[in-house]
Amino acid sequence: MTLTQIKRMPTGCPGLDHVLAGGLPEGRSTLVSGTAGSGKTVLALQFLHDGLRDYEQPGVFITFEERPEQLRANAASLGFDIAKLEEQGKWLFVDASYSPDRDEQQVGPFDFGALLLRLRHAVEQVGATRVALDSIGAVFTRYQDANVVRRELMRVTELLRERCHRGGDQRAGRGVRPDRPPRCRGVRLRQRDRAAQRTGGGDPPPHHRGAEDARRGPPDR
């Protein structure tokens, strides 16, 4: 497949869209990776916000790190009125952020069934075509078993892919997933080289990304 055959979704960041030949690949998951403060969360917020502003494409933002109220406040400083979009039923947060009073101990195997349920509901509720998951690193920090997290994140991508292939205007599953998922295709944004693009190159080697993320400490906003 050549670049031109893959439909692109503009991120709303003109320079980035230019080097990405139009935007992020449609119907796929894209990994955004970068060090703390490099702007992964901001890119995700902008991707959803501009998708609505310019293309009327509703969005769902799953947050594993910052609380939705923090994200709203941060976005407001960029001029994004997310609260208004929420009121209009075009934007939904799925709050999966960590908080000490919701600390969980782990006794035996578990899965992210509840998260998938919430994601599916949220996507259906607003008819989302853009989904952001922020951040993968935070999920690995919160749950010790990297293999479980890797498997469950695959289920999230799978759910989005299914919805995407259902066709019509209700397609979903184009997403920005800040930080590193275990296996992915797409774009990796680094601070130094700004944007490095990988297309159809298969999966990166399956080494222990999760452990790396955990060691690296909390990713940026």
Binding site: D95, Q105, V107, F110, F112, A114, L117
Partner: protein
């Protein structure tokens, strides 16, 4: 499903078990929980909640991983995720006196 909130303060212990669908696997998790708390003195209330029937509760309690048990009483609130297959870890997590590993002869 019992949800008489007035009774809760008098309870010795109150747990809510959140599962996704009613399957043999979730029944086993419930069994593990009941077995773990059977040595507690006084009444124990366990509500089993199927999130596919009550997705609003997944949202309300910000649940990500299932199965999940929440101990509402005695405080503090404690959350445990997993299939509860390790009785000793479960007893430690919920500070259950007398519910030691000798009770855990699960296959």
């Amino acid at each position: 499903m019992e949800r008489s909130r007035d009774v809760v303060p008098l309870m010795k212990a109150h747990f809510q078990l959140f599962v996704l669908g009613r399957t043999a696997r979730t029944a086993l998790v419930e069994q593990q929980l009941r077995r773990a708390v059977r040595h507690l003195r006084g009444p124990v209330q366990i509500d089993v909640i199927d999130l596919t029937e009550r997705p609003d509760l997944a949202e309300e309690h910000d649940i990500v991983a299932t199965p999940m048990v929440m101990r509402l009483h005695p405080s503090p609130q404690v959350r445990v995720v997993g299939d509860l297959s390790d009785p000793r870890a479960l007893a430690t997590a919920f500070d259950l006196d007398g519910a030691d590993d000798s009770e855990g002869d699960a296959p």
